[in-house]
């Protein structure tokens, strides 16, 4: 997508902002407070956006009208809130479903030891609101899935600092569902730009997504290879690594021995981890495997990703810069994916991720399912979860048969799962499905159902 198109979209976002009203909140801007920001917005330069008109209005938008949503108040979220607030944004909402843990304190700097146990979103908002005059951060101690269309629609830009691909895909799907088309043409004012940041140890990335126009999260799903889990036979009978011993204790021994009654394993409970640690050591001793430590045990059980303050600072800065650029149209935004790595020196790489023509999230094209009529429903289920471009977690498949809505298989509700389980062993023909039949699939990775078209092969 070339710069001209990006330019167009940013201008639309700005004009949308111009139309929205805003209330004045004077009184807390001392002399010279926004000088550093003014210099960007009130002067032209060789690097500014071709359509940029320096004026005092951009600063006004920033301060009074522009509404930003920050998803996540963790490592990236704290940095993002700080950056946005210091750049002049005042109407900020933040969503996070977590509470503060001691292990957050090495980088989530809006939190103090006394805050452990409190909701991240609330403590973060309190901190910013009390330290940065004029800034109003509204916290939401919720899952993103608990909020609906009407909530997300109110924002000009959404920036994510999430730690889960599923959540990213859900957010991505939500913004795509807000798009409106007139006679098949996308209405630019229905686009909410999504800036997505991710970090892992010393690596990170930032991307700019204009839903419906540029590559979305699902277009580049292959960039996130599926998590590798150890094969069950290795865990059960042929362990070689300390990790295999830990998984044995977690997956096989815990459900069998139920050491704390019917409670499920809680990675944040030190007693639970201690139990897994001890069982893992026993298992390791049996096979002469060395290397089981408490730290490793916790890491495997909680799937811990190492993290430091610096990577979060870098990626959040890159994201906040993009928010600023788009909100003010002062510079051409990132087009559209930045990769960062500081293991050896400092490495950054920027490229344009391409849209996928038949993307299951943003292409509006019904997805193709090619199976023979003799295939079992189980095979379709496996395809949906294992295919690299789909990577669904627990898809629920429904269709319309004889004018009525029929659930073919659904995992998330126990009674329905039991009732529909026999369908998995039936063939598509036996289930009454025909060539060209549309299947609607729901999954945690998307807020909307994905439509598939069944294409019978020989």
């Amino acid at each position: 997508m070339h710069d001209g198109a990006i330019q167009q979209i940013s201008m639309c976002c700005v004009s949308r902002m111009a139309v929205d009203g805003g209330h004045r909140d004077g009184g807390c801007d001392w002399d010279g407070r926004w000088n550093h920001v003014r210099k960007f917005l009130e002067r032209p330069g060789p690097f500014t956006h071709p359509d940029f008109e320096p004026s005092t209005e951009s600063l006004q938008f920033l301060l009074e009208t522009c509404k930003i949503l920050v998803i996540g108040a963790g490592g990236l979220g704290c940095e993002l809130l700080k950056n946005l607030a210091l750049s002049g944004f005042r109407l900020i909402h933040v969503v996070d479903m977590d509470i503060i843990d001691v292990s957050n304190l090495n980088r989530q700097f809006l939190f103090r030891p006394k805050d452990v146990g409190r909701p991240k979103a609330e403590v973060a908002a309190d901190f910013i609101n009390s330290r940065i005059p004029g800034c109003k951060v509204v916290p939401h101690f919720k899952k993103i899935q608990d909020l609906d269309e009407s909530f997300y629609r109110q924002f000009h830009i959404i920036v994510c600092g999430l730690d889960s691909i599923i959540a990213r895909r859900w957010m991505n799907g939500m913004l795509i569902s807000l798009l409106s088309y007139e006679d098949g043409v996308l209405d630019p004012s229905s686009i909410i730009p999504l800036i997505d940041g991710g970090v892992e140890g010393f690596k990170g990335n930032t991307r700019v997504i204009l839903p419906g126009m540029t590559a979305c999260i699902d277009c580049t799903l292959e960039l996130y290879p599926p998590q590798i889990n150890f094969p069950m036979c290795t865990i059960a009978s042929m362990p070689r690594l300390p990790e295999h011993c830990i998984e044995y204790a977690r997956i096989l021994q815990w459900p069998k021995e139920k050491p704390f009654g019917d409670t499920s394993l809680d990675g944040d409970n030190p007693q639970h981890i201690q139990w897994v640690f001890e069982r893992s050591q026993e298992r390791a001793a049996e096979f002469n495997i060395t290397g089981v430590t408490y730290r490793l045990t916790q890491g495997v059980v909680k799937r811990i990703i190492p993290a430091v303050a610096s990577t979060n600072a870098v990626i959040a800065a890159a994201c906040a810069t993009e928010v600023f650029k788009i909100a003010t149209s002062a510079y051409i935004p990132l087009n559209n994916y930045l990769v960062f790595n500081d293991v050896d020196g400092l490495y950054t790489y920027t490229f344009e991720a391409e849209r996928k023509e038949n993307c299951s999230a943003c292409s509006q094209v019904p997805q193709d399912l090619q199976f023979p009529p003799s295939a079992k429903l189980q095979e379709i289920l496996e395809y949906l979860t294992e295919n690299a471009s789909l990577q669904m977690k627990s898809p629920a498949i429904t269709t319309t048969l004889e004018g009525k809505n029929k659930t073919l298989y659904l995992q998330s509700v126990k009674s329905i799962e039991e009732r529909t389980r026999p369908n998995l062993c039936k063939t598509l023909k036996e289930l009454g499905l025909s060539d060209g039949q549309e299947l609607a699939v729901a999954d945690v990775t998307t807020p909307q159902t994905v439509l598939f078209k069944l294409n019978f092969t020989a």
């Binding site: 550093h36 960007f40 103090r112 070689r240 190492p306 303050a309 610096s310 293991v343 400092l346």
Partner: protein
Amino acid sequence: IMAATKASKEQKYDRQLRLWGDHGQEALENAHICLINATATGTEILKNLVLPGIGAFTIVDGHTVTGEDVGNKAQAATELLQELNSDVSGNFVEESPDKLLDNDPEFFHRFTIVIGVQLPESTCLRLGSVLWNASVPFLVCKTYGLLGYMRLVVQEHTVIESHPDNALEDLRLDQPFAEFQNHVKSYDLDSMDKKHNCRLPKNYKEKEAFRQFIREGILKNENGVPEDEENFEEAIKNVNTALNLTKIPSTVEDLFNSEQCNSITSQSPSFWVMLRAVKEFVHNEGNGSLPVRGTIPDMIADSQKFINLQNVYREKALQDAAAVSKHVECLLQSVGKVCKNASFLRVVRCRSLAEEYSVDSVNKDEITSCMDNPDSEMVFYLMLRAVDRFYQQHSRYPGVYNYQVEEDISKLKLSVNSLLQEYSFNNFCHYVLGSAAQEAIKIISHQFVPFNNTFIYNAMSQTSATLQL
């Protein structure tokens, strides 16, 4: 109380301990960092060092408050930063670095690293020279609009644990050591090297033939159809990466040939002593190869066989390390690490600021070749140098006040021209801050490799470049 503090520190730092280990954390906690100029930039860098738990910091700043810098005076900054981590002790000195150098030239010698933010060129040069001679690493940082700049100034920085991404395994399949050969003989397989005179398959054709050779080893069932043998499939898949030649990387060869390695004295830092011992090993017990690393990748096998194989490599590694330590009088732990990381040892040497700035030694080649590419970040480097020049002449930065902008543009052009002329060039035009902290951590912990020596980040295009100037 000691145990409780230690436990809570382990919890707090858990996520970063998984990156640089307890010994890396210890190095951080023993460090005393100096920040010069508590600007927004400076305090942001320091925040990213205080959070991971450096031992102490000292802020040096002789400036007063303006409207933009929300309370960022040395004292206020110190208090705010200390709030972030009660394990860290903070101090401040309300004095300019130039004054300090006048009155107490050895003031800066006590620090593990000095970070200078928005320093004028003359102060950089003066301080740079003092720190160079005192062997104190110096990190220069500047932000200017949407540009970020970092320059690392350190004479010699050694890295044992560089933690490379995607390193090849050290399996020695081309030069199996005696113990490995004996171990293999205990299996009921034909020896692999009979056909090709102990040479590994080199090109695609040979590797395909090798894969076919493996395939033929798969058991067949009654109908002559090969069984589903996972371990054979895995072997075939890994032919490319497992069959690499055992050789000493050129980076390590260069270190072996360097003067520090060959003239070991009682003053030599331990890194060079150990490196020399490794070199001696290579020429003796190692028969031309580095000490065996001792780790093998996980592979499909039954537990007993895998553990036994793993132990063969582990024991060889211990043996080699013992041989190296005979050449050395150092802590056994350090030697073990040097052996395990022998392929990945790195040394970073930066040019001094004096060399960079001086007309006689400026890196003209690097600058001119970059300028051939119109999108190169080099243009920003020159611009930043010109901005420094401007400051030198007019005692302020260009464009601070709106009414100055027009006039300053032409003055700045003059600065750019004077810089270019001096270097006789005929042809001719919040992120860095997180990075700055991490580079400082690399210097302090001696883990991971720092950049060498200039880093420019352009937030407008979200691109960056590392230049050696």
